[in-house]
C-alpha cells in the first residue's frame, strides 16, 4: 500500500515537473502569430543577417565609392 502511494506521488511530481517545463505561448489561443510576434521574429532574422555582413572600414568604403567617379 505504501509502495503504491509512493508511486502515485512520483507520478504527480513527474507530471508537475514536465508541465512546468512547458511554457504556454503568448498570443491568440489558435496558436497563430500576432503581427507583433511576426515582426519581432523577422527583425531577429534580419539582425542575424546584418551581424554576418562583412565589416567595412572607412577606407574600404572610400575606395568603393571613389571608384564610381
Amino acid at each position: 500500500m505504501k509502495f503504491a502511494i509512493a508511486l502515485v506521488l512520483i507520478a504527480l511530481i513527474l507530471t508537475i515537473t514536465i508541465s512546468g517545463c512547458v511554457q504556454q505561448p503568448s498570443g491568440p489561443p489558435t496558436g497563430g502569430l500576432t503581427q507583433e510576434q511576426a515582426e519581432q521574429k523577422a527583425l531577429q532574422t534580419l539582425d542575424q543577417e546584418m551581424n554576418a555582413l562583412e565589416e567595412m572600414t572607412l577606407e574600404d568604403l572610400e575606395n568603393e565609392l571613389l571608384q564610381q567617379g
Partner: protein
C-alpha cells in the same frame, strides 16, 4: 494489494504519456521559422550631410520582407534596421520596389526621419544612392549592397513559387534543361512541394537553378534576384530578364546619368537594344 499496484503503474503511464503529448503539442506551437523572402537595401555605406561634406557617418542598412512560419500560420512582414553612428534605429513602413526602397525611421516608437534609395549596377556589384532625413538633418546616402549566403531553403522557395504560379512553364523549363522532370506540376497537385523538397536538398541541380532564375526574372524587387540576373546578363545580355533589369536600372540613369560611366557592359548593350525607349 496487487490490484492497487497495477492501478498505480497504469496511472503513472497515463500521466507521463499525457504530459509528454501536451509538451510536444505546445513545443510545436512555439516553433516559428523565418527566412528572408525579398531582400531590399542591405549593406554598409556612408551618410554625408547635404550642408557640410565633412559631416558624415558610417551607416549600415538592412531592409527585407521576411517570411515567418508557425505551426498554423504563415506571414510575410517587411522590416528594416538602420545603424547610424552608435544608434540603432528601426525602419517601418518599408516599401521594397523594383530597384528602390523607402522607409520611415523610428527610435523608441517615435518617427525621427525617412530614407529613400535607388539602386544601380557597378561592375558586378550593386550600389544604392539616395537621401535620408534624420533628426532634422538631410543626408546624401551611398550604400554598397552586401553579399549574404543564400540558404538552400530560400533557393528552393523560389523554384517552388515559380512552379506554383506557372505550372506549364515550370514543366517546360525542366524539360528544356534536358533532364527528366522532377515531377509533373501540371497533373500532380503535390508536385510543387516535391520540387521544394528536392531543390532544398539539391540547390545546384540544373533544373532547380533554371527554375530559380526564371522566378528571379519576374521578381526583380529582390536584390538577390537582381544579383542572379546580373550574373546571367554578364554572359548573355540578350536574355529577356536582362531587358527587364535594364529597365529597372534605367530609372536611376534618368535621375543620375553619370552612373553610366561605370556601368557594366551588359547594361550598355541592353540600353542599345532598348533604343528609342530611353
Amino acid at each position: 494489494m496487487k490490484k492497487l499496484l497495477t492501478l498505480a503503474v497504469a496511472l503513472i503511464a497515463v500521466l507521463a504519456i499525457g504530459a509528454s503529448v501536451i509538451a510536444q503539442q505546445v513545443g510545436a506551437q512555439n516553433q516559428t521559422r523565418s527566412r528572408i523572402h525579398t531582400l531590399g537595401a542591405f549593406g554598409n555605406g556612408l551618410a554625408i550631410s547635404e550642408d557640410d561634406p565633412m559631416d558624415f557617418e558610417l551607416i549600415r542598412v538592412g531592409m527585407a520582407a521576411v517570411k515567418v512560419e508557425s505551426a498554423n500560420e504563415n506571414k510575410t512582414v517587411k522590416v528594416g534596421v538602420l545603424h547610424f553612428a552608435d544608434e540603432k534605429y528601426r525602419l517601418k513602413d518599408v516599401v521594397i520596389g523594383n530597384g528602390s526602397v523607402t522607409a520611415n525611421i523610428y527610435l523608441n516608437n517615435t518617427q525621427v526621419g525617412s530614407i529613400s534609395l535607388d539602386s544601380y549596377p557597378k561592375d558586378d556589384k550593386e550600389l544604392w544612392a539616395g537621401t535620408m532625413t534624420l533628426n532634422g538633418k538631410t543626408y546624401n546616402v551611398y550604400l554598397i549592397q552586401g553579399k549574404r549566403v543564400v540558404k538552400a531553403v530560400e533557393k528552393a522557395e523560389k523554384a517552388f513559387e515559380y512552379c506554383r504560379n506557372n505550372p506549364d512553364r515550370c514543366k517546360a523549363l525542366m524539360q528544356a534543361v534536358g533532364k527528366n522532370v522532377i515531377c509533373d506540376p501540371v497533373t500532380d497537385g503535390n508536385c510543387r512541394e516535391r520540387i521544394r523538397t528536392f531543390c532544398e536538398g539539391n540547390p545546384e541541380d540544373a533544373r532547380c537553378k533554371a527554375l530559380r532564375l526564371a522566378q528571379c526574372g519576374i521578381n526583380l524587387e529582390d536584390a538577390e534576384c537582381r544579383a542572379e540576373i546580373r550574373g546571367v546578363c554578364s554572359n548573355n545580355a540578350t536574355e529577356n530578364a536582362c531587358q527587364r533589369l535594364g529597365e529597372v536600372y534605367n530609372k536611376m540613369v534618368q535621375k543620375r546619368p553619370e552612373i553610366l560611366e561605370n556601368a557594366p557592359q551588359w547594361f550598355h548593350t541592353v540600353r542599345e537594344r532598348l533604343g528609342g525607349r530611353q
